[in-house]
Amino acid sequence: MIKHLPALLIVIPLLVAIITPLIGRINRALSWYTATITTFISFVISLSLLKTVLEQGRISYWMSGWEPPWGIEYAIDYLNIFVLIIISFMAFVGAIYSKKNIDIEIDEEKKPFFYSVYLLFVTGIMGMTVTGDIFNIYVFLEITSLSSYALIALGKKRQALLAGFNYLIMGSIGATFFLLGIGYLYLMTGTLNIADLAVRLPEFYHTKAIFTAFTFLAVGLLMKLAVFPLHFWMPNAYAFAPSTISAVMAATGTKVAAYVLIRVMFTVFSLEFYAQAPFNIQYILLVLAVAAILAGSIMALAQTDIKKMLAYSSVGQIGYILLGITLMNTNGMIGSLIHLLNHALMKGTLFLVVGAVVYRTGLTSIENFRGLGKKMPFTMAAFTIAALSMTGVPLTVGFVSKWYLSVASIEIGMWWLVPIILLSSLLTAIYFWRIIDNVWFKPALGEEGLEHGHDNHRKPKSNDAPASMLIPTFTVAMLCLVFGVFAYGPVSLAEKAAMILLK
């Protein structure tokens, strides 16, 4: 069975997702256990695959037993195992966390279907990650997208509906562009297998058709990735979705989109393509990345709702990921990959914390965070750690990625990127500091006579989130520190991935 782990990785959550509503019919509470155990199994399988990849290199699994390029291949190398570990872990964390969170955000009788769709979402993102066939990416992308549209629209406030709808529109446009790009590639090369494409594509690099193909693939993915200025679906989607979903989507959804972008840019296409392209693609993407970094940070500053602020901050962070990709050198790629990990951990933590706050107070305005340090000390400690990591403080994982990005910028002579990275770090520090300030150094709203939306009977005593929320949140926050101090592990894996990609 070890040989079949790549297939089982996807098939197990898929089939469990399908039967979850049936399990839920026996007992609704069972669906949570099902989802948690399944995501845990996926995580364990990912770890086992990591071991195999480290020992043997690239894994290739032939679906239906057909040899690629005729059949669909599952190809796992350093790059996607890296992403896979992140997303399967975060999906697992999200599943544990959802137990209490869902109690207040989803109707009781819908729980089995919620977990079913949640598992389908997880299946989709993992499927996109491990597949070696570009059309198969599209199929799993749609599984992911469909489930995420519904999950977002589930949010309690009615704005969630429009947010879900807009995401659906943007997601569909993005996916269709991606499909169009695949069509161009197929028309020129006749194959859909990524490895085969990589072999057959170089002779067409100079053609206008391939350039167009690249454009549509890239634009489609940039939409999914919510790169500025294609980000506008994201803030509302993250702001109004149920907290678990905001956290899991922020931690995994954009990561996978970034992964596919890297895969397309450096495996399907190669560095040679960018040298031959009629436009300077690197420059264009670089401008986008820098704009995203700055705009995201500035817009985050202007927000009064924490979830929106985090969403805009994601726009900026995605800019970093894109920046690393765009620099097209090893250190940049390492920076980008580490930032994937980093952003998954810290943004995951932050959204999980917000979910816990919503669970306790029901509010998401930044004002509402006043005095929470006394009420929810551990949750807020996790928040503070993640915020520090966002800022890029040394010994957090946020520092590692920014360090690599800076090194890479200098390496290719773009020293001016360093001040930009710094400026955005500073802005990040400012908008997080507002909250940390509220959390630790200001009395709670009710105690100041401002009664706005505050339950007076709630004592300012320690009333931290329930353990099923607190433990996952705190664990992820701690990982921000662990990987900040022992960055060597992920960095060496990312380095191997980068070496292969940029060969």
């Binding site: 599209y138 749609e142 519904a150 009615r158 659906l168 446009i173 269709t176 069509g183 197929y186």
Partner: protein
């Protein structure tokens, strides 16, 4: 004739695609947006299906398999891909429409500008 047909469907695809795209962005009515999205998606389907056709080819069904010379077959692969894509399209439409229904239920309208207006009031 063949010279025209060689590129003709590309142009049709482009026109349809851009009409759809314009509709998605410009229309305020959510249902119209979805219809436009469908036009947009089907244009890509047309693109794929167009490339499956070969001049003088027949549908890829091996009726006289093993009996003498095989006829020239059209390319089945794009057709297969598009079967999947159509299904994806209708699934998306179904989810989209159900969200629209809920939106109507909550806001009493399916015009985007009015919804945004209501959101502003209620925030």
């Amino acid at each position: 004739m063949i010279e025209i047909l060689a590129k003709y469907n590309y142009w049709i695809v482009i026109i349809l695609l851009c009409t759809g795209l314009y509709g998605i962005m410009a229309k305020q009515n959510l249902i119209k947006k979805i219809i436009a999205l469908n036009v947009f998606q089907t244009s890509v389907l047309l693109f794929y299906v167009s490339m499956s056709k070969i001049e003088g080819g027949t549908a890829p069904i091996l009726l006289n398999h093993g009996h003498g010379v095989q006829p020239l077959f059209d390319n089945p692969l794009p057709q297969v891909l598009m079967l999947t894509a159509i299904v994806v399209g209708i699934s998306t439409t179904a989810v989209a429409l159900s969200i629209v229904m809920l939106i109507y239920r909550q806001y009493g309208t399916i015009e985007e500008d009015q919804i945004l207006e209501l959101n502003k009031h209620n925030d």
